[in-house]
């Protein structure tokens, strides 16, 4: 059992002390902000996609859905690679710009922007799915009833469709937020130093020249704690929603 505690510490709270006093918290907030923005934008973009698929009555619904989701099923690393090729200093965009006589844009790669763009790209197809499922099971009769009661389409959307699809929206949001807040692969490939995230810090504490497993493990545990709280709140929210509908 002693082997569980590498180093001379035995039982120690040093990891927790360092978590709160060595700038790790500000790194966590930075990562949380980045993935909050990504999740919000991606959910906002995915909603109309799901709405179109579920409620426009298009006959090719499942073909279009498959077309939308297929990129998500292919290699994650290779999709990141594609963006590295596109955004690089000598990449597709910048080489096209300079061959047209414009100045290349230096912020494209190795920046927070690049990390957020690639994360958004990677998760967008997947996020449409939970929203689609809630909208697809929505009873169209409710919308017809709203219309009979002289609600405009917009009012019907705000008062009927949107509230009923909230569980899907919140689930979609968490499905992006949870993996992106702990992400380290994308930031290490396209983020440079300004796109460095909390997940990179955890990895570095384990793999860099001066490993500090204790602090690394504490950081990881803190991440799990935050995510557990979020998931718990979400499940409660779902139950409340079900109780209200019933």
């Amino acid at each position: 059992m002693l082997a569980l505690f590498p180093g001379p510490h035995g039982f120690a709270l040093g990891g927790w002390y360092r978590l709160f006093h060595q700038g790790y918290m500000s790194l966590f907030w930075k990562s949380a902000q980045m993935s909050l923005i990504v999740s919000a934008l991606v959910v906002a973009a995915a909603y109309p996609l799901a709405y179109f698929l579920a409620l426009s009555g298009t006959r090719r619904k499942y073909v279009l859905l498959l077309l939308l989701i297929a990129p998500f099923m292919t290699s994650y690393l290779l999709r990141v690679l594609a963006w590295k090729v596109i955004l690089g200093d000598q990449g597709v965009i910048n080489s096209a710009l300079s061959s047209l006589g414009f100045h290349p844009l230096s912020f494209l790669l190795y920046s927070r922007f690049a990390v957020m763009l690639v994360l958004g790209y990677v998760w967008l197809p997947f996020v449409a799915l939970p929203i689609f499922v809630t909208l697809d099971t929505l009873d169209r009769g409710l919308l017809e009833a709203a219309s009979d009661l002289y609600a405009s389409r917009w009012q019907a959307f705000v008062r009927v469709t949107l509230p009923l699809s909230m569980p899907g929206v919140v689930a979609a949001f968490l499905f992006v937020f949870i993996p992106t807040v702990g992400e380290f692969v994308t930031p290490s490939l396209v983020g440079g130093s300004s796109g460095y995230m909390y997940g990179n810090q955890i990895v570095d504490l384990f793999q860099q020249g001066f490993p500090d497993w204790e602090t690394g493990a504490t950081l990881a545990l803190f991440l799990v704690a935050v995510i557990s709280v979020l998931t718990f709140v979400f499940v409660r929210f779902l139950r409340l929603g079900e109780a209200r509908v019933a």
Binding site: Y51, K84, Y121, R153
Partner: protein, 270 residues
């Protein structure tokens, strides 16, 4: 009157949907173009057609070895994950025990744990137990990651099956094993195949956990990740990327269409 969308709204959404599809597929198309571009750096203007990069990667032994390692890991982990997924799904559909909901949630927990965390905790576990890192440790990691996916595919299918079919088999003297083999398994077969495919492709592509658990043998994603850091390898990697992306797109679409048809056939009255 359509209650969900006005005519203009439908038109705007159709355009938006098309734009998103372009955004999703354009990077893949760009890789395709540059995989045939005769230059060491992928940049405009294009400089002629070549098959050099495809030729290079086919003769790259290190890359072949990495692809082989990934195939082995994916095969081992997907078979184990699906077997465990079937057992777990059977357990929670067959009996209504106390804490059933909690058991299902618990089985799905790895979905909401960031991969970094799973990676380091497994790494620490193997370290404490003194297990040397190898293909097997990566496979264990991938079983942990993919079990929830297999359950998400198998559980709904098992719940659709009419329980009286199993009871009928019992009445006709079939034991539990025979019932499973001759009644349940054929009915869930399409779902089993799609669970296998999902587990296989997930494992084949997985980097985060594998990076902590790999021994001396590199998996394909680990090879890719390190190749991405050396620009000289870039055109070759792009060519591999094109092959892998196209192959996986074809497999995914074909498998999904096949599953739809197979399940429709099973539902249809004989």
């Amino acid at each position: 009157m359509d209650v969900a969308l006005s005519r203009n709204g439908r038109r705007i959404m159709r355009v938006f949907f098309a734009l998103v599809l372009v955004f999703l597929y354009a990077p893949i198309a760009i890789l395709l173009v540059f995989s045939f571009n005769n230059a060491d750096i992928p940049a405009f203007p294009l400089s002629g057609f070549t098959l050099r990069w495809y030729h290079d990667f086919i003769h790259n032994g290190e890359l072949q070895a990495a692809l082989e390692t990934s195939a082995i890991v994916a095969a081992i982990s997907s078979v184990i994950a699906v077997a465990l997924g079937i057992l777990a799904s059977l357990a929670v559909t067959r009996s209504r025990f106390r804490g059933r909901g909690a058991a299902i949630s618990f089985l799905l927990v790895p979905l909401v744990i960031p991969l970094v965390v799973l990676g380091i905790s497994l790494f620490l576990l193997f370290h404490v137990l003194g297990v040397p890192l190898s293909i097997l440790t990566i496979s264990v990691g991938h079983v942990v990651i993919t079990i929830p996916y297999t359950i998400l595919v198998l559980l709904p299918r098992l719940e659709q099956i009419d329980r009286s079919l199993g009871e009928a088999a019992y009445d006709l003297g079939a034991g539990p094993l025979a019932t499973f083999r001759r009644v349940t398994l054929p009915l869930i077969f399409p779902a089993v195949v799609s669970a296998l495919l999902i587990a296989f492709t997930t494992s084949f592509d997985e980097y985060a956990v594998a990076s902590f658990l790999a021994g001396t043998r590199e998996t394909f994603p680990i090879y890719l990740y390190s190749a991405l850091r050396f620009p000289t390898q870039l055109p070759q990697v792009i060519a591999v990327a094109v092959v892998v992306l196209c192959a996986s797109l074809v497999v995914i679409v074909a498998a999904e269409l096949w599953r739809r048809r197979a399940e429709a056939r099973l539902e249809a009255p004989a």
